[in-house]
Symmetry: C2
Subunit: 368 residues, 2 copies
C-alpha cells in the first residue's frame, strides 16, 4: 500500500444535489439484484449483487498461488489443484453490501449509490479456512488475519491492493470458507475467480475476492479498508467503529407492474399475496412485520420454516393483503433473535454504511 496523497474525507452531497457522473459510473458497473428476483430462493447467475472497488482483475487460474504467511509456524503456498484437493463443504449465504440503501440517505454520502438492491444469496463451495490456518500453525500472539486480493486501485489517495483483516476468532469459525465455486460452477470473474473468502454473516467488504495472500498479524491491522473505510462515524475526526455483521433487513418483492421510467408500481384491487425475504448476519430472523398503510398498522408476516443447514441464508416470508383502490405504501420490518430490528427513521453515518432503514414501496391500486 503506497500512500500517494492524503486520506481525504468522504464527500457528502449538498442538499438537493443530484447523482453525479462519478456515482453513476459506479452504478452502471456494479450490479444490483432487481427486487423481483427476491422470488428466487437462490439468486440465479448474473442477478447476485456485485461491488468491485477497482477493476475486475484478469487472474490466470493456472498461475494462481495462495500464500499463507506472517505469524505462523509453517508458511504455506498452495496452487488451485492443492486447494481444491482439500476437504470441501457448501454453504448457502446471503451477502449484502455495507453501503446498501446509501443513495436514499439525506444528506447522501457520495459513493456507490445503492438504493436497496445490493444483496443476493448463493451457494458457495470451498474449504474451511480454519483447517488451513491450523496446518500453518498460528502464533499464540495472533490477533488479526489479513486477506489480500489481486484487485488494484486508488482510494482517497492511497494506492493499494484490496486488503481486509478479520479478527482471529472470526477467521477460525468453521463456516468461513476459501471458495472456488458459486452455484456449483467455478467462480465467475466478477465474484473473485479463482478463489475468494466467504465469511457468513458479515457485510460484503469482508468477503475478499481474487484472494492471493493470507497474513497472520500479532497486532491489529491498520490498512485502509479496516482503519479508514468501512467505519461508522458521524464526525470526520472520529475514528468510528468498524462495520462488521449484517444488520437485520426485510425486503418486499414489489407487487404488480412498474412504469418503465419512473419505476412507480401499479396493481389491481383484490387479494394480493405479498412476499419477500428477510435476513440478519447477527442472529436468525425471528419476525417479519408488514404494513400496507405507510407504517400505521403492522401485522406479522408468515415466515417460511427456518432451515438449520443454512443459518446465514435469507428466509422467505408472505403476508396476505386485500388491496383497495388508491395509493398506499408497503413496508416490511425484520427482527432477529438477538432483538435487533430495523429503524423507521434513518440512522445516518458519513459513509452511509450498515444502514437498515425500513424499505417503503409506494403502489397505486387500480380498480379491479
Amino acid at each position: 500500500m503506497t500512500d500517494t496523497g492524503t486520506r481525504s474525507r468522504a464527500r457528502i452531497a449538498e442538499p438537493g444535489e443530484g447523482i453525479g457522473l462519478d456515482e453513476l459510473a459506479l452504478a452502471t458497473r456494479n450490479h444490483g439484484l432487481p427486487l423481483e428476483a427476491l422470488r428466487y430462493d437462490v439468486t440465479p447467475p448474473g442477478l447476485h449483487y456485485v461491488l468491485t472497488h477497482y477493476d475486475i482483475p484478469a487472474v490466470d487460474a493456472d498461475g494462481w498461488r495462495l500464500e499463507v504467511t506472517g505469524a505462523v509456524d509453517r508458511p504455506l503456498t498452495l496452487d488451485l489443484t492443492a486447494l481444491r484437493a482439500r476437504p470441501a463443504l457448501s454453504t448457502r449465504v446471503t451477502l449484502e453490501c455495507a453501503g446498501n440503501g446509501r443513495a436514499r440517505l439525506e444528506p447522501r454520502p457520495v459513493s456507490q449509490p445503492w438504493l436497496l438492491e445490493a444483496v443476493g444469496t448463493a451457494t458457495w463451495t470451498g474449504t474451511p479456512l480454519a483447517a488451513l490456518l491450523g496446518e500453518a500453525g498460528v502464533s499464540p500472539g495472533a490477533v488479526d488475519v489479513v486477506f489480500t486480493g489481486s484487485d488494484h486501485g486508488v482510494e482517497r489517495g492511497v494506492e493499494q491492493d484490496y486488503a481486509r483483516a478479520l479478527p482471529l476468532a472470526e477467521a477460525l469459525r468453521p463456516d468461513v470458507l476459501l471458495a472456488w465455486e458459486m452455484g456449483g460452477s467455478p467462480l465467475p470473474p466478477q465474484h473473485g475467480a479463482p478463489v475468494r473468502l466467504v465469511v457468513p454473516g458479515w457485510y460484503g467488504m469482508a468477503q475478499v475476492k481474487w484472494l492471493t495472500r493470507i497474513e497472520v498479524l500479532e497486532e491489529p491491522f491498520e490498512g485502509f479498508q479496516n482503519a479508514v473505510a468501512y467505519r461508522l462515524k458521524t464526525d470526520p475526526g472520529d475514528p468510528g467503529t468498524p462495520v462488521e455483521r449484517i444488520r437485520p433487513r426485510a425486503l418486499v418483492a414489489p407487487p404488480g407492474w412498474p412504469d418503465f421510467m419512473t419505476r412507480e408500481r401499479f396493481l389491481r384491487a383484490g387479494p394480493v399475496r405479498l412476499c419477500g425475504r428477510a435476513w440478519s448476519g447477527r442472529a436468525p430472523v425471528a419476525r417479519v412485520e408488514v404494513s400496507t398503510d405507510g407504517g400505521r398498522a403492522w401485522t406479522d408476516a408468515e415466515l417460511a420454516p427456518a432451515d438449520p443447514a443454512h443459518p446465514y441464508a435469507w428466509r422467505a416470508w408472505t403476508a396476505d393483503w386485500t388491496a383497495s383502490p388508491g395509493r398506499c405504501e408497503l413496508l416490511a420490518r425484520a427482527t432477529d433473535e438477538a432483538g435487533d430490528t430495523q429503524p423507521l427513521e434513518q440512522e445516518w453515518n458519513r459513509q452511509g454504511m450498515a444502514n437498515n432503514l425500513v424499505q417503503r414501496v409506494p403502489v397505486t391500486v387500480l380498480p379491479a
Copy 2:
C-alpha cells in the same frame, strides 16, 4: 395494450441537472458490462448488459407456449419440448442497447442512464425463425412480424406487454433465432427464459425476451415500441425514423487502475498495449483508429482476424503506445465496410438512441 393515459413526451433534463432517483433506479437494476470485461472474447455469465423495461417475469417453462398467429395459413402453438426438437444452430452475436451512451449527452434525455457499458457478446443457441414461419405459411400480403414478450408494464401512460415488430424481410433472415440457450446453458431469467428472439445486427430493443407470441401482420405494426419509443427525432412533434441496426463503435478497455470513487485512471509511463473491441450491425468492421492525444493524431489499430462464422460478433483490436508522464485522453474510432464511422461531436436526438459518439478515456500517466 391499454392506453391508460397520454403518450406524453420523453423528458429532457435541465442543463446541469444531476441524475435523478428515477434514473438511478434504472441504473441500479439494469446491468452494464464493466469495461475491463472487454478483455473477454465472449462475455462471461453475469457481465453481459441487461435492460428490462419492466420486471423480469416469472415464466414457468413447463407451462410455456409459443403461439404463431395472424396472417398465416396454419397457426401454430409449440411448447418448449417441441421447439427444442427443431433444428438448432448457435451464433455468436454482440448486442448493444439503443440507449448506450445516453447519460453523456447534453442535454440528457431522461431514461436508462447508460454511460458506455450497454454491450455484451454471447453465443445464442436456438432454431431459425424463418423455417417456423415457413411452416405456418406466411400470407403473401404480410409486411411485419410482431413479437410479444410476457414482460408487462406501463410506459408514458400505455399499459402493455412488451411487443416489437420486425419487417418481414428481416424476420425471414436465416440467422434470426428463437433462442433457448446462452453460452450453452438454458437462458437465465434476465435474458428471456425460456425463449427469446435474437436478431443479429439490430439494437437490443429488437431482441424480444420471454417470447410468447409471434403475429404476422398485413399492415405496419403501430404498437408503442415501434411507433413511439425507439425512434430518432429531435422535435417532439416529428414522427422520426425507426432505430434499427447497430451503428459502428469501438471501445477501449481502460488501461491501468482506477480510483474507486471517481473512476479516474492511472498507469505508469512506458510501453502499453491498448486493446478493445469494435463492432457494427451494418457491415463488418473495416478499421479502428486510435488517438492518445485527445483526437489530434490518429493511428490505425491492429485488428484481430475477422471470423467469417461470426459476422455480428465484435472484433478485437490492439494498438501499442509509449505512455509519457502527464494527463492525456485516449480515443478509438471504428469504421465499417459500409463506410459508416463514429462522430467526434454528438448527434443528439430526444431519446438518446443509436448514439455512437467516440469514447474518451482520460488517464493520468505516472512516472515509471
